[in-house]
Structures are given as C-alpha cells and as structure tokens.
C-alpha cells in the first residue's frame, strides 16, 4: 500500500512542497434551500494528515460527503490529482484511490468481518485480497480474532477499526475519516489515532480527518482547518492551531487529553 517515492515523514514545511492531492475551491453545498457549505477552500497535499475541526453542525461531515459526491456541490470545484471530480458519481470517486470511513461507521452488520473486508476490496476485484487482509490484521489484531464474526456483534471500537480496515482494503492514496473517535473509550481513541499516524508515516498515506476531538486531531495532524457554520475560519499547522487562543477557547476548553 506504499506510495512510490514516499519515504520520510513529511514535516509540515516539507509537505508544503508536495503536490496538492485534493483541492476544494469555493464549494457550496445545499440541503434543499438550506446552505450547509458557504464556499469552502481547502487543500490536502500528498503525504499529509489534514484535520478539519469544528462544532456540531458546522458542516464538517457535509464537506466530507461532498468530496464523495453525495450530496453534490452546487457551486465550486473539487479536484483530485488534477482531475475534476465535482460531478462524478460516488462509486466512481471511490474508484479513484480515495477511500472513506463514513460517519457512523456504516459497516455491514449481518455480514462477517471477513465479508466486510471483501466488500472493501471489491474495487480491485480482490486482486491483492490475501496480502491486504494480512496487512490489516497486523494493523488491527483485534479484527483477526473476530474475522468470522458478524460485523454487528463487534464492539464500537472494533466496528470503527473494521470501518477503517475496510477502507484500507482498496489500497487508497487518500483516506477520508469521519470522526473515528466518536463514542469510543479514550484508550481506544489513542489506539486508533496511533494507527492513523502509522499509516501516514510508514506508508505515506494521505489522511483527511474530520474530528470533534480537537486536541487529539490537532496533535496528530500536520495541518488543520477550523470550520464554523459552513465556512473555514482558520487554518494552520496542527501546532499553531493548538496554541491559538481562539481555538483553545472554543474547542479545547475543559478537560481535554
């Protein structure tokens, strides 16, 4: 799953020179007449972990879903590897080496873990299935134990691992994760974030992470964006945002860590 030419951990400054993988320009998304995204600009460069933080209902998940074409952006453009994907159907976007672990995990509950992973690999016709299966089993040993159990019988943390593992099965270049920490115990959150880090550092996978858990997300990410009611209000490196008093007041107040 390694990307050719990716060898060292890209620091924030080094990443700046990397080519832009995903670029969002002036995207406006509506639900009926209600505007959810009011013209969003954002870039994700190769090898980066970029996080998007914001309050409930700010439009984080909408942006994630808009990138995947469901709902479609009414205005603006989304390009991936230089190709315009704004009007592409969701399943074709998924075939462009972008994978998504959607909000609420959305695993297939009545199918076994194994079958869930098969579904993840169906884009490339199970060509490297056994190899990739072994790989995700090393990443998530818990899944290996539960390979033949039904998805719906897993605990919340395991389901999240399964959702990420399923996304990895298509060998994506860009991984979109929507709130992987949602509803999970702190220790499991730590585990999942360290796996994201490992994916990025070892395989050079580009990760776009939508999170409510701002502290962990900003600590992990190279760069971050802050979204407020459909607008990107702030951006910077993870460190900068963590240190920013406004961010601290709005998203890091109270007992974090």
């Amino acid at each position: 799953m390694s990307t050719a030419g990716m060898n060292v951990t890209p620091s924030a400054s080094a990443a700046a020179s990397k080519p832009v993988l995903l670029s969002v320009r002036g995207v406006k998304t509506y639900y009926g007449n209600i505007i959810a995204l009011k013209g969003v600009d954002m870039d994700v460069r190769e090898g980066e972990i970029v996080t998007l933080i914001g309050a409930n209902g700010a439009g984080k998940s909408t942006l994630m879903m808009t990138i995947f074409g469901n709902p479609r952006a009414r205005e603006g453009t989304i390009t991936y590897q230089g190709q315009d994907i704004t009007r592409m159907p969701t399943h074709e976007i998924a075939r462009m080496s972008i994978a998504q672990s959607p909000e609420g995990r959305r695993i297939f509950p009545r199918m076994t873990v194994y079958e869930n992973l098969q579904m993840g690999a169906s884009i490339n016709g199970l060509a490297h299935f056994n190899q990739d299966l072994e790989r995700v089993c090393t990443l998530f040993p818990r899944l290996k134990e539960r390979l033949y159990q039904r998805g719906g019988t897993l605990s919340g943390g395991e389901q999240q691992m399964l959702a990420i593992a399923r996304a990895l099965m298509s060998r994506p270049k860009l991984l979109l994760l929507d709130e992987p920490s949602l509803g999970l115990a702190p220790l499991i959150v730590k585990q999942i974030f360290s796996i994201i880090k490992e994916l990025n550092e070892k395989d050079g996978m580009t990760v776009f992470l939508v999170e409510q858990n701002a502290y962990h997300a900003l600590k992990l990410a190279h760069r971050g964006y802050v979204m407020v009611t459909g607008n990107i209000t702030m951006s910077g490196t993870g460190r900068e945002l963590l240190a920013d008093p406004q961010v601290q007041a709005a998203y890091l107040e109270g007992g974090h860590h």
């Binding site: 469901n70 998924a94 998504q100 509950p109 076994t112 079958e115 579904m119 818990r142 943390g157 220790l187």
Partner: protein, 471 residues
C-alpha cells in the same frame, strides 16, 4: 478494560429459572381444567330443550369433557411457550455477544446439515415413493401433481429470494415476471411453433428484460415506496394481459399450448412417442412425472445459481446493498448495476417458472397472475426467513402443501359433524400460523444468515486466545 467478560449462559449453566417444568405445568393444567369444569356446570353441562309445553334438560357431559381437555392442553402449551420465551430472553444469542463466545451450532443449524440431503433425497425419490405407497401410476397422480405445485412455489420463492432476501428490495409484483414467462412460452409456441426447450431460455431472458424495465424507474426507491411501485407493476402487467386482446386473447386466455417433449420425444401413445421408444406401456403419468423432474431440475438450478452468486462479488454486493446502500457506494460499488442485476436475475427465474406453468397447464389466462399469487410467494420468502434457501423451501411446503393436507382431514367430520369442511378454515389457519410465526420466529423460520466464507481455522480463533484484551 477490566470489565468482567460476559459469560453467555450455555446449555450446562445451572438450571435456568424458567426451564419448562412438566409436573408444574400439568398441575397447573389440571387446576385450570377443574376451574373450567366448575364453570361449565352452570353454563354448559345441561341444555334446555323445549318440546311442546315441556322444558327439559339434556346433559352434555361429552362437550364439557372435550372443552376441559382442550383447556388443559392449552394451559400446558402456554406454559411451554412462556418457558421457551423466558429461556430465550435469558440466553443472549452468540451473535449479540461482544466477547467471543464459543458458538455451538444451534438446533436449526444442526438440523439443516441433515435436512438438506434429506429433503433432496425425498424430492428426488418422491414419485417412486408415492408409486409404491399408492400402488400404481394412475393412483399417484394427485400426489405428484401436488409435488409439482409445491416445487413451482419453491422455485418462485427462491427466485424472489434473490430480490427480497439477498438484495433487500421489497418486491410485491413478482407475479408479473411469472406472467411474462408464461405468456412468452404460450405466445412463442402457439405463434411460431417453437419448442419448449427453445422457449424456456427465451422466456427467462424476456422476463429478465422486464425485470430491468421495472428496475430503472425504482432505482431510487426503497422500502414502502418500492413495494407500492412493484405492486402497481404487477397489476399493470395483468391488466395489459386482459386488455390487449389482439395479442393475448384477453381474459379468455391462450389455450392448447403445446406440451413439453422428452428432448424431442412427445408423450403420445403412437409411433415415435416416449413410451414406445423406451418400450414402456403408454401412460399419461409419464408426462406428469417428467414435469415433476423438470420443475425439480429448474428449482435446483435456481438454488444452485443463487448459492454460487452469493459467493461471487455480485452476490456479496447484493447483501451489502441490503445492509447499507450508502456504504456500498462509498466502497466503489455501482448500486444501479447491482439493483438491476438483482431484479433481472430474480425475474429470469420467475420467467422460467412461468413458462413451466404454461407448459404444464396447457392454458394461461390473466386470472392465474393476480396479486394473491405475489402475496403467497412473498409470504413464502418472509416466513421462510429472508435469504435462507432451506427456509424458503420449508415455507413453500407448508403454505402450499398445508391447504391440501387440510382437504384430506376427513376424519374431522366424525368429530364436528358431516357438514364440516376443514378447507373452509384455510385462511383462518393461515392467519393463525402467521401470527404464531411472528411471535416465535419474527425473522422467519431460519433467520440465520450463513456466511459465505466459513471458518477454516476455528481452532486458532476460539477458546483461550481471545480471553485477553477486552474492549
């Protein structure tokens, strides 16, 4: 992290509080029967009869005895029901466990392992068995006909199972494809004189084509709305068949449809017929038995194809679609194609069954394809357990064979009087059966979904290995 592992109550766990206790149940049953007896004395035991000016009492102790026995039996049944229900609720299913539990195959899984070869054997040997029981070819006609009827519904159930059970698309108009298949054969054979063996695949293709035509407008629909549109589609096909008299001969139907041949040998008594070629004495039953094996083969083909498809990407995609459409799309699956193939392949088997229907009856009319047929086929799938092949087969036997058995319960006339026709209670029993099913097995007879990939290295995963590391 130190949460105690959830132990699942298994068979050896000390006496579940609600295990069915027979002696207690009998005691309670006797008590209830006694109360019934007490209540009966003033109400039931004597009947006032009037003849002229005299009023006299006629005792009815026989009726009282029957009712007391009935109450006794029902009370025990109630106990049994409550006990199983309580035991079931007290025992979490292994599929709900968050920890790994050593999941023993349950009773249904155990029986199904033997049930499949058993059913298959019975189905294959059925005409022979009946021949020996009834003692002759002509005498066994009724039973072989019944077998054909049941197998037709088994096949229809399996066909619809692809759409409803696997892909999760609720289709209330499945009979439309059955009709398309039947009329395809009827029209092709009477107009162009094509033989059954050429028409069969053509009918399947045509029905599959109509499946796609239905599929396109309903791609965006799910659940209730899909059900309504498919229901309407079924009615449209039927109404077109009634009203397009130039083509379909309207409500009068199409008659004298050519019969099936044994790979070119007609079932006739004369020269070159089946009986003569094989040196047998001519008998009309040869054709019926041939039809029986034909529908058996078609049904098994449906089953075989479904089982194979489930293991292929398209079948997996159907099941994933049933589970979560949005997740499917974000995994790069073209849900449009997946839905259309489900509709088309389901419809194709409906078409096969339809052309079999036409060749068997020799006559088709729109009357045979009303909504009730769709409802029965859907009931077979739902009661059998969506997605379960063996469950669908059992449900077809019960729902189609049940009413026929009812017709033969003539001994009940001895109990309820000669005017009693058990067949009149068919729908009542049907309803009671449905209610009982929904209480006991709300997800169908066999609600277990069998994984397409089975545990190969069970030892490596079960037991001690998974004791450490809890979520």
């Amino acid at each position: 992290m130190n949460a105690p592992p959830i132990t699942t109550a298994s068979a050896e766990s000390p006496a579940l509080p609600n295990r069915f206790d027979l002696t207690a149940a009998i005691k309670d049953g006797l008590k209830t029967a006694l109360i019934m007896l007490g209540l009966s004395i003033p109400i039931l035991a004597y009947k006032t009869d009037q003849s002229g000016g005299d009023l006299w009492l006629s005792p009815r102790w026989g009726l009282v005895a029957i009712l007391c026995a009935l109450v006794f039996g029902l009370r025990i049944l109630l106990h049994a029901f409550m006990a199983t229900k309580a035991a079931r609720e007290a025992t979490p299913s292994p599929h709900q466990a968050t920890e790994f539990v050593h999941a023993e195959p349950n009773a249904f899984q155990k029986t199904s392992r033997f049930a499949i070869p058993f059913f298959l054997g019975v189905a294959l040997a059925f005409p022979v068995i009946i021949y020996f029981i009834q003692g002759g070819l002509n005498e066994s006609r009724y039973w072989v006909d019944l077998g054909i009827l049941i197998l037709t519904y088994v096949m229809l159930g399996w066909g619809l199972n692809i759409v409803v059970g696997l892909a999760g698309l609720l289709d209330l108009g499945y009979v439309a494809f059955y009709a398309v298949g039947a009329y395809s054969y009827a029209l092709l054979s009477t107009t162009f004189g094509l033989s059954f063996w050429i028409c069969l695949p053509l009918a399947g293709i045509l029905a599959g084509f109509w499946g796609m035509i239905l599929g396109f407008p309903v791609l965006r629909l799910r659940g209730d709305y899909l059900a309504i549109v498919t229901l309407a589609f079924g009615e449209i096909i039927r109404l077109v068949l009634i009203n397009w008299t130039d083509l379909t001969n309207g409500g009068a139907g199409i008659s004298s449809i050519p019969r099936a041949t044994f790979f070119g040998l007609p079932f006739t008594s004369g020269e070159g017929g089946f009986a003569q070629t094989f040196g047998l004495e001519f008998n009309g039953m040869h054709r019926i038995i041939f039809l029986y094996y034909l529908i058996l083969a078609l049904a098994l083909l449906t089953n075989f194809v479904t089982m194979r498809l489930r293991k292929l990407p398209v079948g997996r995609a159907w099941e994933a679609l049933r589970e979560d459409e949005i997740a499917c799309r974000s995994l790069g699956i073209n849900t449009t194609n997946v839905k259309l193939t489900a509709f088309a392949i389901g419809a194709m088997f409906g078409g096969f069954a339809g052309s079999f229907f036409a060749v068997r009856q020799g006559f088709v009319s729109p009357e045979s394809f009303n909504f009730l047929e769709s409802a029965i086929i859907l009931a077979i799938v739902v009661l059998g357990g969506m997605g379960s092949q063996i469950g669908v087969a059992i449900a077809a036997i019960v729902l189609v064979g049940g009413p026929e058995i009812l017709r033969n319960l003539t001994f009940l006339q001895a109990v309820f009087g000669s005017g009693f026709d058990p067949n009149e209670y068919r729908l009542l029993l049907f309803g009671a059966g449905m209610v009982a099913m929904m209480v006991w097995r709300p997800r169908g007879l066999i609600s277990e979904r069998s994984p397409t990939v089975i545990l190969k290295e069970r030892k490596a995963i079960s037991g001690s290995l998974v004791k450490e590391g809890h979520g």
